[in-house]
């Protein structure tokens, strides 16, 4: 078998004049590709409360609850109460979320969407429980 000692030396010496490959992340902004899955955003207006997201969430991180302040039923011109769209809020437990974005995919009304917001570490556990409301 061919043997060549010190084969890596030229490469190693070349590195002396190059910048390190390490990314200086906390000091420089991290480069993300479009489509990186981070925090899931929720739009109250779009949600119809089908709770499909709750059904597919692998870690039971998402919770859809009826909003506290529902719109008052209004009386239509014919004297009957008009049908009113119920409003739903979303509780997102970031400590449980695994950022698979399956909820985004299953949502029929596109009320959920992933963002590029990935710096989510918190010292207090309470702050990891996001409450999206109207």
């Amino acid at each position: 078998m061919k043997r060549k000692p010190m084969r890596i030396l030229p490469e190693a010496l070349k590195q002396l004049f190059k910048k390190p490959a390490t990314s200086k992340y906390p000091f420089e902004k991290a480069k993300l590709y479009a489509g990186y899955r981070a925090r899931i955003n929720f739009e109250v207006e779009k949600c119809i409360g089908c709770k499909m997201c709750m059904r597919v969430c692998p870690s039971k991180a998402i919770e859809i609850i009826p909003a506290e302040n529902q719109p008052q039923p209004q009386i239509g011109p014919d004297g009957k109460p008009m049908p009113v769209k119920k409003i739903f809020n979303c509780i997102m437990n970031l400590d449980r979320c695994i950022y698979c974005a399956q909820c985004v995919e299953i949502c029929p009304k596109k009320a959920l969407a992933y963002t590029q917001d990935f710096e989510l570490a918190q010292i207090e556990k309470k702050k990891l429980r996001l409450h999206y409301k109207n």
Binding site: L9, A12, Q15, P20, K24
Partner: protein
């Protein structure tokens, strides 16, 4: 008065203080250069100091069944032996103490830290530590002979066993240095074994036997052992500098100190390059390599030197 100057020599220059500062600085340079070679960032300049302070502030844990007195005394003995060795090596034009045969004394003083490493592992009574100390001893028999043989060649040429005389000889006959290249390479490689660096770092190979002989050491005791290795690096570099690179070239004063720093740094750079480009070899392969290649090469060097002295230079 003599007492005070001796104390200054031991405590400040070229003793403990100088060795500790320069040793940790070289240790940092070694780590930083290695990191840059590996395309990494590497530690900041205060890293080695911070490591030492951290270790010094930690609790010392002594394992059950260990010989407490010996366990505690060993790191101090290692540091003391290294400092003593440094006193015989010339930094400025003349060394602090010199006598015929001080080269042999330095080599033996440099064996004392290795012996303390062995005892440290042995007295810790843990399987990993005893494996480490067994390997320390096996490795000692591997590199010690080639290292000593490689130093014999220049000594024969200079006709003296004193380090100062050898470096003085080479500074007057610089041409002779080119004939010492084999011995220089042999000594560089065998010093890698003495300092327990890649490719000969089997005694504390972390993937195999965790911390090796230092597995059970902690706190200031471990810090002192690390410091003694750093200091040993300086002493070994200084020894190679004095014997193979002509020491201070009779410059004297500050110039010789600057020259000393530059040359020892260059030697440490070579150490780092060797460390960066090789894998760790097994202990049996290490001993085989030392006896099969290094020792014969050192013998060739001696023969070359004898021929030079008694035929060509007559």
């Amino acid at each position: 008065m003599e007492m005070i100057t001796a104390l200054v020599y031991i405590a400040i220059f070229p003793g403990f203080f100088f060795l500790a500062v320069y040793g940790t600085a070289l240790q940092w340079a070694d780590r930083k250069i290695c990191a840059v070679m590996q395309n990494r960032v590497g530690p900041p300049w205060y890293q080695t100091l911070a490591d030492f302070i951290k270790l010094a502030s930690k609790e010392v844990i002594i394992p059950d069944g260990a010989d407490v007195k010996m366990f505690k005394a060993l790191p101090y003995i290692a540091v003391a032996a290294v400092i003593t060795a440094m006193l015989f090596i010339p930094i400025t034009s003349s060394p602090i103490y010199s006598f015929q045969g001080d080269m042999i004394a330095v080599v033996y003083l440099l064996t004392i830290p290795t012996a303390t490493f062995f005892l440290a592992g042995w007295s810790s009574t843990s399987p990993y530590a005893s494996f480490g100390s067994m390997r320390v001893m096996t490795q000692l028999f591997g590199y010690e002979v080639p290292m000593l043989l490689s130093l014999v060649g220049p000594a024969i040429l200079a006709g003296s066993w004193s380090i100062y005389d050898i470096s003085a000889y080479f500074s007057t006959n610089p041409k002779m240095l080119f004939f010492q290249i084999i011995g220089f390479i042999v000594s560089l490689l065998s010093v890698q074994g003495k300092l327990e660096r890649v490719p000969f770092d089997t005694p504390h190979a972390k993937n195999e036997i965790v911390g090796g002989q230092f597995t059970e050491y902690s706190g200031i005791l471990l810090g002192l052992f690390n410091l003694s290795i750093d200091m040993e690096m300086v002493v070994c570099a200084a020894l190679i500098n004095a014997i193979f690179l002509g020491g201070s070239w009779q410059l004297g004063g500050w110039a010789s100190i600057v020259l000393f720093l530059i040359k020892t740094f260059a030697i440490v750079f070579l150490f780092t390059a060797i460390k960066a480009m090789m894998a760790r070899v097994r202990i049996d392969q290490m001993v085989k390599f030392c006896w099969k290649y290094l020792a014969p090469l050192a013998m060739i060097q001696i023969i070359v030197d004898i021929c030079l002295k008694y035929t060509l230079l007559k």
